[in-house]
């Protein structure tokens, strides 16, 4: 390995990157845009507040108190629907997924129950809902839970089953803090994979590698400079993502040496896969298609954007076969939980994978022309 040769190659690659706006956009700006968009979308998930439309047909002090209780205890944001409206039509016309109807006799029935004039008196609240809505079930479950709590309190007896929540974390982490390590892993993967595929295909097809093979640069120098280049880009991209995340979302993630370790392993693994692809795929379009076929399932099934616990069992098993899963989990173990042992375990797995793939990539890299 010749430092002078490796650094010369690295400088040329970095200058090319600096002068290539598209590459700059996809490596640095795109992951940041992703963080800003998803971070904003899921910001509400951390401080849950659901819109609830209520049609109060009773219009009494008791019904008003009931609505107020829902607002305070249930974290619902209440919107009123006029008593003259047809609730079903109103929901259809205004594209609402749920309207809660408080019936006319609400206060009367409540008083009978409280005054024990009719101890078994009950009131039926009506849910007008749109079953095609994906979020209405969650909203109805929250509402049911809140109503169950009210029923319990009205009984005047303390509940038998109580519970206490103890988080395994020192604090509650937010979705964005789960999301950032995943985006870092994903961005490094795509930059390394596509960067290697595109660059190698271009240099092969333009004959630049043929020219380089007549100079003292060796295959090892070439691959090493490629790794250094991708690692440098990954660091720049990660720093940019973290700066934006701290600045905009005030994230609370641990910055430690594990980030560098996982980024490096991520780079080695996917540069290796990129090198193998360019060996076996002849056309650049086919190589990009093959890279897409590898990266897309990885992005969505390896838990970059959402926890794999949300996926069906067989997909969770499948996720365990994806290298990106171990980068995601390793970064989260170190950045969120500060769990060095878990980080070490994940690093060992992705490290072995990266070593094998990278070795195969070196073997697969064509230096002498094969016609």
């Amino acid at each position: 390995m010749k430092v002078r040769v490796v650094s010369a190659n690295l400088v040329v690659k970095l200058k090319t990157f600096y002068r290539e706006r598209t590459a700059m956009f996809f490596t640095i700006a795109f992951p940041i845009i992703l963080i800003l968009v998803f971070g904003t979308i899921f910001l509400d998930r951390d401080t849950l507040s659901l819109d609830l439309y209520v049609q109060d047909l009773d219009h009494t002090h008791a019904s008003a108190q009931f609505v107020k209780a829902l607002q305070i205890n249930g974290n619902f944001k209440i919107n009123e629907v006029g008593p003259a409206s047809d609730a079903r039509e109103y929901a259809k016309n205004h594209r609402l997924n749920l309207i809660l109807i408080i019936p006319k006799d609400f206060e009367n029935l409540l008083n009978q129950r409280v005054d024990l004039k009719a101890p078994n008196a009950s009131v039926t609240l009506m849910y007008i809902y749109d079953p095609s809505s994906t979020s209405v079930k969650t909203k109805m479950e929250y509402l049911n839970m809140e109503l169950a709590g009210m029923n319990q309190r009205m009984s005047g007896k303390p509940p038998f089953y109580r519970w206490e929540e103890t988080s395994i974390l020192n604090r509650k982490y937010r979705f964005i803090e789960f999301f950032i390590p995943g985006v870092i892993a994903m961005a490094v993967m795509t930059a390394s994979l596509f960067g290697t595929v595109n660059m190698n295909m271009e240099l092969l097809q333009k004959g630049i590698i043929r020219k380089l093979s007549t100079t003292p640069i060796t295959r090892t120098d070439w691959i090493l400079s490629n790794i250094l280049y991708q690692f440098t880009l990954a660091i720049i991209s990660t720093v940019a993502m973290l700066l934006v995340s701290y600045g905009v979302f005030h994230i609370d993630l641990k910055i430690n040496v594990w980030i560098l370790v996982f980024i490096l392993l991520d780079v080695f693994a996917f540069v290796g896969i990129g090198m193998i692809l360019t060996r076996f795929v002849q056309e650049s379009q086919s190589a990009v298609a093959a890279a897409n076929a590898i990266s897309f399932p990885m992005m969505f099934l390896a838990g970059s954007f959402f926890p794999i616990e949300m996926m069906p069992g067989f997909l969770q098993t499948f996720a365990g076969l994806l290298p990106l899963y171990y980068v995601n989990e390793g970064l989260r173990a170190s950045m969120i939980f500060g769990d060095n042992l878990a980080a070490l375990r994940y690093a060992a797995i992705i490290g072995v994978f990266a070593a094998i793939v990278f070795a195969l990539g070196i073997i697969a890299t064509r230096w002498e022309e094969a016609k």
Binding site: K2, R4, V5, S7, A8, N9, V11, V12, K15, T16, R19, E20, K206, G207, I208, R210, K211, L212, S213, T214, T215, P216, I217, E368, E369, K371
Partner: protein, 317 residues
Amino acid sequence: MAKPAEHAIEVENLTKRYGDLLAVNGISFNVRKGEVFAFLGPNGAGKTTTVEIIDMIRTPTSGKVRLLGMDVTKEKLAIVPRIGVLPQDFSSFDRITVRETMQFYSRLFSRAHADIDGLIELVKLKDKAEEQYKNLSGGLKQRLGIAIALVNDPEVVFLDEPTTGLDPRARREVWEVLLGLKKKGKTIFLTTHYMEEAEILADTVAIISKGMIIATGSPGELVENNANYLVLTLQSAEANAFEIIRKMGFEPVHDNHQDLKVRVEHTEDILKALNAIKDAGGSFLSLDVRRPNLEEVFLKLTGEALHVGPTEGGEVL
């Protein structure tokens, strides 16, 4: 330890096979130090395969190649710093400037003190030194390729079709650069399918066809040995000129411009033919007598035309 070599390049029974295709078929030749050696042949003749084996881009199927006295299959690391290569269809990094490209290659050869400005000037790219590669024309790109091939001050320079695809003006600009290198005494191995290029630049020409060398010598020797006749081209006002010459026992043809072309063995035959037309009352609108060129030598030896594109030389008779 490499022995001092009399020849810069020694090729013996070189063969290259791609599956069933025999691209190079047991060729042997030597290139003296300081000479310009041209490999002349049509596309697919085996020129590039041969040069790429010698400059170590490819490996041979069999045979021996010694470059500067060293075996190319065993001593690549020792040979590479002493040669310069302009591969076929040379290309470089699109967004890197001419000067940066030169600096990059000089660093690859660990030549901290390479005369980059001098080389840029040599290939007449001084005005384009800060221009990115993608903005250069085809001719300028080739000139940059030649400058890169010289960045390590090589003893042997390989130029694989350095002017293919260039317009006539750009081609002549590249020739000027190569003539400058020739004056400096560099050993140059050139492949081309332009006979004019070989005639102007080469000390020795090897004609290659279907993977085999079919003739070797200086351009003059090749013509002398293989096409020892003269070509008379004329345009006459006499309508029967064609018939008059044919009756004299010659085999005239009309070329693309409807000029009359006649191959003759001796200068006296020219006078006879011209006098016969004159005696018949004819006059001449144009007249040209010349020796055959390598194009005609190639045609005679192989039965196929050398050019794939428009020619710059005379018509093939």
